[in-house]
Each structure stands twice: as structure tokens, then as C-alpha cells.
Amino acid sequence: MTSVSVIDELKRTQILELLEQGKRVDGRALDESRELKIEPNAIPKANGSARVYLGDTEVICGVKIQPDRPFPDTGDKGLFICTAELLPLSHPTVETGPPQPPVIELARVTDRGIRESHMIDVTQLVIEKDKSVIGVFADNVVVDYDGNLFDACSYAATAALLNSKTPTWEMVDEKPTVVEGGEKQLPINTIPVSVTMAKIGNYIVVDPNGDEWASMDSRVTITTDSDGNICALQKGGSDGFTQDEINQCGELSIKVGAKIREQLKSVQQESQ
């Protein structure tokens, strides 16, 4: 433990020295995210899937679509649930067992960004009102860690949803039954893009890698939709932001997000 934190402390000094010269450890500009590679349909047995590489962070998301009971107060809407899990093979410090608070936060923030953008039109996922609806489950697993899991999981889930095909069900004898040949795309309203920014000293960097993640003072994850609106935000880390910085991060998230949205759009076009 101690040896790790000493190394982190040395890295932070180096990262800060570089930032003062306008540079980052991996040579990126401050507002530049790492290369994003998306392999759609990596798990053919899932209804939709994607393997995503954000720099050296690697996440696989599989989407399963199946009939489910609606929540009692939303019988006219289908379900959408997104999770995230850190696999023990992703980093030497990850242990098996119940998820720790950071992983719970990761899963909830990933879910919230996609949910609040209304990416999936859940009103079209009803088989019979109040009785049976379609449930869409996007499960992320982190297989390799190099910082910024928030964005990697969000891109993986979004890409997986964009290439998902849902069967069609109809009620036969009170039971949802698959209609042969009824496969279609999920009803998509918008493409949400999450952009995470870290504050290190007085500098704000987009898409922090593992070393930057370990050195940051605080972070903010902002999700924008296709119309350039902001639809979800989460601040984290043990320091604060000024109001100006928060406004600046909002603008950055729209600018950086637009580029990534183009990549996700091509996933959508390829799957149609």
C-alpha cells in the first residue's frame, strides 16, 4: 500500500510539472481524449455488444433483452438497466467480493447518463400495459484498467445498445411469446456521450489516464445528448471546482463529446 502511494506521489509531481508546461504524461493536449476503438458485436450471443478500448482501458458490454414485469408505477414503460463491474483480472488491486463504493458509483453514473438522456424510447418497449414489458440490460465488465472507467463504460454501453436487435413479443395465453422474424433495432432517441475531466492542481484535463486518475484532486463527468444539451453530471474526488471551472467543463463536454458521437453514430449506421 505504502509503496504504491509513494510512487503515486512521485508521479503526481511529474504530472504537475508537465502540466505547467502545457503537456501531459502521454503527450496529449489537455482537452484531447485518448484514441477510442469500438468493436461492435463482439459477443454474438448477446442481443447487442461492444468491446471498447479507450487508450489502454478496455471494457466489454453485452446487452440482453428479455420480457420482464414492469415497475408498479411505470406499467407503460419498458425497463432499462445498466451495470458495471470491475473484473479481478483488470488490475492487481481488484479483489473479488461485493462491489465497493467506487464501483457502485461507476455503475450508477453510467446508468444515469444513458437513462437521463432518454437514449432508449422505453415507451415503445411495452408488450402489454401493466403486465409485461421488454427489459433491456446493458452489463459492462472492465477487463483492463488505465483510468477513466466512467467514459469507457458509457461508450461501451452506448455502442452495444446502438447495435442491439430486439426480438418482438406478443401475449399468448397470458405469456409473452416471441414472434418469428420480428427482430428490429432498439428505438433510439439520441446518442449520449459522457466526458470525464480531472482537475489536477489548477489544470483541467479531459479523459484522465490511470496515472492522472491516481493524481487528480477532483473530477467531473458530464453527459451530453445529440442536441448539445447537458443531461447528467457527477462530481467526484476530494476537492472542489469554481463556478467558472464548472461552466468551462460544460463547454468542454459538448465540444469533446461531439467528436465521440460521430464515432458512435457510425456504429449505429453499420448495424442498420
Binding site: 500500500m1 505504502t2 415497475f71 408505477d73 463504493p101 467506487p102 457502485i104 458509483e105 455503475a107 450508477r108 444515469r112 437513462r115 437521463e116 438522456s117 432518454h118 477532483s218 467531473v220 458530464i222 445528448d225 448539445g228 444539451n229 447537458i230 443531461c231 447528467a232 453530471l233 457527477q234 462530481k235 467526484g236 474526488g237 476530494s238 476537492d239 472542489g240 471546482f241 469554481t242 463556478q243 464548472i246 461552466n247 460544460g250 463547454e251 459538448i254
Partner: protein, 244 residues
């Protein structure tokens, strides 16, 4: 997820909200510093219909020991809802939501508390939601700051918190339960007014870039109001003429 009344008017033609407030008007806020005998510091807050009790212990020994840090003290926060605090009985086991909120509040308080003065120790903040009515995390964070100050723990500033939001395409201050359920956006903000730093910020709901900036601005101004009440609570206890 509570019962949602589709016919409820969130904002009427006179700009009055469902509970009779104006767009920039917070709910009634009452903060009391102290109150618990055994805790090193405590606070009680009523924020509209929210009723929240916070107790602080420490700096004290860390158990389990491996959690301690030789460079600094650690802050531990537990946000917990009583089973009777909401409409339908809540399972008393910590939910994922409570675990996330505990983490978010901890990270909102950390910039305020001078933990580096107490290496190898822990400061424990226990937040108990006795009754919930929308905006518990902000009310809890506000009360936790007062409880930490009441415990005499050195602080750089207090964190004041309130939510901004959007209903009927209008930016509002202090989102209540109905507005959270049926409104368009909810943005809880925690802010240190003397240091001018935002330490808690979340958002769910769709905002244009202009509305986003306005929400942050409305929230920060709301926090400045809450801050005055926090200071008043401490003043009342330590410099007032009340009998406790």
C-alpha cells in the same frame, strides 16, 4: 419512484410552484447545532419536510487499523435512511443509492475538513434520514458541516448545499419531492461560500447549455442563503442565550 400525479401543476400561470413557493424560494429551513450527548458534535436539520439528524465522532482511532493513513486523518460518512422515512417501508440494509450518496457527501466534505492535522485517525459522520421529502443529500450535507463544526474539528469552510432544477422549462431553487419525480432536471449543489468552491455537484435531467449555467448560478446563490442559516445555528448554540 413515488406515486406520480400526472395532473399536478408544477408551476402555475402566476409562477407559483406546487407547494406554494416562488421559483427562487427555498423551503423552510431550520438548523440546530448540537443536541446529542454522546456524539462529539451533532446537528439536526428540518429542510421542508426532510428531518435529518447527524452525529460526528472523532478524530478517533481507526478500526479496522489497515484503513488508517499515516499522512492524514480519514473521513468516513454513512448516509442512512430509516425504514419509516419514506412512503413505502425501506429495507434497512444499505442500498446502492445510499452507498453512492455516502461517497458523494464524503467527497463534498473532505475539501472542508483539515484532516491532515490528525494523521492515523478517523472522523466518522453518521447521517440518519428520519423523514425524506426530496433533497435529502443537500440537507444532510448542510447538517453534516454544522455537526463537524460543532465537534470542534478544524475546518477551512462549511459546505452549504441546496438543489437547483428545472420544472415547466423554468429554472427553480430547492427541488422538492414532487418536482424531483415529475420535473425536468435536478441539480444538487454543495458549495463552500468563503472559498468559492463547488464540492458536490450532480445532475439528472436535460438542460440546454444556458440553463446549465443558470442552474449552477441559482444553486450557488441558494447555498449562500443556506450558509447564513448554518452560521446562525452555530451562533445560537455558542453565543446565544438559549438554555442548552
Amino acid at each position: 419512484m413515488g406515486g406520480r400525479d400526472a395532473t399536478m401543476v408544477l408551476l402555475d400561470e402566476n409562477g407559483i410552484r406546487c407547494d406554494g413557493r416562488k421559483v427562487d424560494e427555498p423551503r423552510r429551513i431550520m438548523i440546530k447545532a448540537g443536541g446529542l450527548k454522546n456524539a462529539d458534535g451533532s446537528a439536526y436539520i428540518e429542510f421542508g419536510d426532510n428531518k435529518i439528524l447527524v452525529g460526528v465522532f472523532g478524530p478517533r482511532d481507526v478500526h479496522p487499523k489497515h484503513m488508517s493513513n499515516t499522512d492524514t486523518g480519514i473521513l468516513r460518512v454513512r448516509y442512512h435512511m430509516e425504514p419509516f422515512s419514506v412512503g413505502e417501508r425501506k429495507n434497512p440494509a444499505p442500498s446502492r443509492r445510499e452507498i453512492e450518496i455516502s461517497k458523494v457527501i464524503k467527497e463534498a466534505l473532505e475539501p472542508a475538513v483539515m484532516l491532515e492535522k490528525f494523521p492515523r485517525t478517523a472522523v466518522d459522520v453518521f447521517i440518519e434520514i428520519l423523514q425524506a421529502d426530496g433533497g435529502t443529500r443537500c440537507a444532510a450535507l448542510t447538517a453534516a458541516s454544522v455537526a463537524l463544526a460543532d465537534a470542534g474539528i478544524p475546518m477551512r469552510d462549511m459546505v452549504a448545499a441546496i438543489a437547483a432544477g428545472k420544472v415547466a422549462d423554468t429554472v427553480i431553487l430547492d427541488v422538492n419531492n414532487e418536482e424531483d419525480q415529475a420535473g425536468q432536471a435536478d441539480m444538487p449543489i454543495g458549495y463552500m461560500p468563503s472559498l468559492k468552491k463547488i464540492t458536490l455537484l450532480q445532475l439528472d435531467g436535460v438542460l440546454t447549455p444556458e440553463e446549465y449555467k443558470k442552474c449552477v448560478d441559482v444553486g450557488v446563490k441558494g447555498c449562500e442563503l443556506v450558509y447564513e442559516l448554518q452560521k446562525k445555528a452555530l451562533n445560537d448554540k455558542y453565543f446565544g442565550n438559549r438554555g442548552d
